[in-house]
């Protein structure tokens, strides 16, 4: 290994690399939640879906040796869990927030229970794309080792932003989310659209979980998720239900997570608990910022229970 002392540049590179490495689960969960909320439902259970996705993806990869199959299974597990949420919420007078919290606890509990045999074995990891080949510095090369899922997430954000605006199903989803009456008058089946929106969101959150277990940090244990799924839900509000902004917000959250370790590694150790809390602090600050009475609901789907 060469290229020793980078000092402050090392911090910058570590934060950029960290933003890329850490952001992907945030991105997938927040895109999923955007879809769900655009249909007029809140799924707070995505943390549970994320953990379940991480476990099932890891387990599949351990058993079959195929990490990409793990990603698929994780997505399906997430879709299945979210289907439960969607179906329960179809019943009259069911509060989707409460069901979401139940799903959160159920999903993590189930994943812990089923995941016991997978704590010990190592699963094959998802491969990298080496985008740092042009640089002689091993630090830059490592920061630019990018996982395909990150690129898929980025493309998906652009695609969803376009599709929500410009396609027929995007319009239907938004109509159902904004006004049940209008959607009903247009003859759309509100329940089916919402179920599809929630299931698609769950699929994405499950894939986000598989990134945690199959790529970075690339393990399965019960402390794997430190609330990424919950924070991503807050991030959706901050991103104003816009997929492209979800991408930026995820990068910011990822970078915030990387800041603490990067600063400590150059010897700045004062207040490391504060740096360590940076992502959570950021969540709070963003929620306070976005709670402004005038701007709060800009872009919020009209039928989402938090804006009703």
């Amino acid at each position: 290994m060469e290229g020793g002392d980078l000092g402050w540049w090392g911090v910058v590179i570590a934060v950029i690399g960290g933003a890329i490495r850490v952001s992907t689960p945030y991105l997938f969960v927040s895109l999923g939640e955007t879809l769900t909320e655009k249909s007029g439902r809140v799924n707070l259970g995505l943390e549970g879906v994320l953990v379940m996705g991480a476990m099932s993806g890891y387990g599949t990869a351990v058993i079959t040796g195929e990490p990409w199959l793990g990603v698929l299974v994780a997505g399906c597990a997430g879709a299945f869990l979210s289907l439960i949420h969607a179906l329960i919420c179809t019943l009259p007078r069911v509060n989707d927030i409460a069901v979401g919290i139940a799903l959160f606890i159920f999903g993590t509990g189930l994943a812990f229970f089923l995941g016991k045999p997978f704590i010990n074995p190592s699963a094959p990891r998802l491969p990298d794309l080496d985008l740092g080949w042009w640089s002689a510095s091993p630090q830059v090369q490592s920061a630019l080792q990018i996982n395909l899922l990150f690129l898929i997430g980025f493309t998906l954000a652009l695609f969803l932003a376009w599709a929500l605006k410009n396609t027929r199903w995007g319009l239907v989803l938004r109509t159902v989310g904004d006004s049940e009456e209008a959607a009903g008058a247009l003859g759309y089946n509100i329940a089916v659209v919402r179920i599809l929106g929630t299931v698609a969101g769950g699929f994405l959150a499950g894939v986000g979980g598989s990134y945690l277990s199959l790529y970075f940090p690339g393990t399965w244990n019960e402390g794997l998720s430190s609330g990424q799924g919950l924070m991503a839900v807050a991030l959706v509000i901050f991103a104003r239900w816009d997929p492209v902004r979800c991408f930026y917000a995820s990068l910011v959250f990822g970078g915030a997570t990387a800041l603490g370790p990067a600063l400590q590694s150059v010897g700045i150790t004062a207040n490391y608990y504060l740096y360590g809390a940076a992502p959570y602090f950021l969540t709070l600050a963003l929620l306070i910022y976005s709670s402004s009475p005038r701007k709060a609901l800009e872009g919020a789907p009209g039928e989402v229970s938090i804006s009703r």
Binding site: L212, P217, P261, S265
Partner: protein
Amino acid sequence: MKPKMLSRRGFMRQGANLVAASAVASSLPGMVAAMGNVTVGFIYVGPRQDFGWNQAHWDAAQKIAAMDGISVVEQENVPETAEVEKVIQSMIELDGAKVIFGTSFGYWDSLKAMAVKYPDVLFTHIGAIWKEGDPTNVIGYRGYTEEAHYLCGIAAGRMSKTGKIGFIGSKPLYFIYNNANGFVLGARSVNPELTCNVVITGDWNNPVKEAETTNALIDQGCDVIIANVDSPKVSIETAEARGVYTCGYHSDLSSLAPNGFLTGAEWNWASGAEFVQAFLNDDPYPNLKRGGFREDMVALSPFGDAVPQEVRDEVMAAKQGFIDDTLQLYTGPLFDNQGNQILAEGEVKANSDTPFKLGIDWWVEGTIG
């Protein structure tokens, strides 16, 4: 699950027999051992195959289970709440356990409470914080892992090409300071110019942060990494993927890094077997025991393939030094990394000087952090 259910029933029967037997022959405390089937209970705070803290205790459980006439019952994922008292009660009442190994720090109050309730059962705790006035059927024991870290440091110092190594700590507690100091002192004993970056994650278990920290340290040029967290698995696998060396902690982690693993600092919790023996034979036992290699309370992982023979010899010589008590960890002149003198020229702290070690809240010279 099935065999376990059967054995549980077996234990219940056994337990009933024990009760009957001890009622008949309560004047013979050695009776239980003589009957040749003593149950020992192990309670873990997490999964026992975590490549970390809990696995170190599981290693011990397996060794103790292999002893003559002893069978082991285990329970994983027991939180540090009143839950542990229920688990202990169930192990004693249903499985007939005579010895309980409580392997998490936060079990302490529960262990003491249950020790009062079950005076004929022995309880062990890993904090070594027993004091006068606590129940006498409780034992606290703990190894000086800093000695094993010193040996890891020697290997790290010899193998590092950049002269920079990295230490990841979970919480700023005395044993983390001691382990880091041991690691740095060992490394600088073979390369006085070497520096060590220390990063505290603030969590016992936070895989994302541990992986990120490992990457940040490697970006700073550190080419040997050791992680003092609940399970160093993530850190070791991340470092292995980036092609740098690693040292293990808690248990034997060599299988995680076939290329870069040097060696590792392990506990030897199986040394608690002596308490079991003494308790069952009605021999005296200490309530508080700390020790290093000399007392066989810590261990060193097998060397990885990357470590050449002369480095292995050097490490093993230092290990012998700890065993013979000819090598002391903290010897003067010793400075902390702020430039304060800790020990004067010629001043030496014994390896068994627990009060000194408990008071350490500084990093030795050469540490960045």
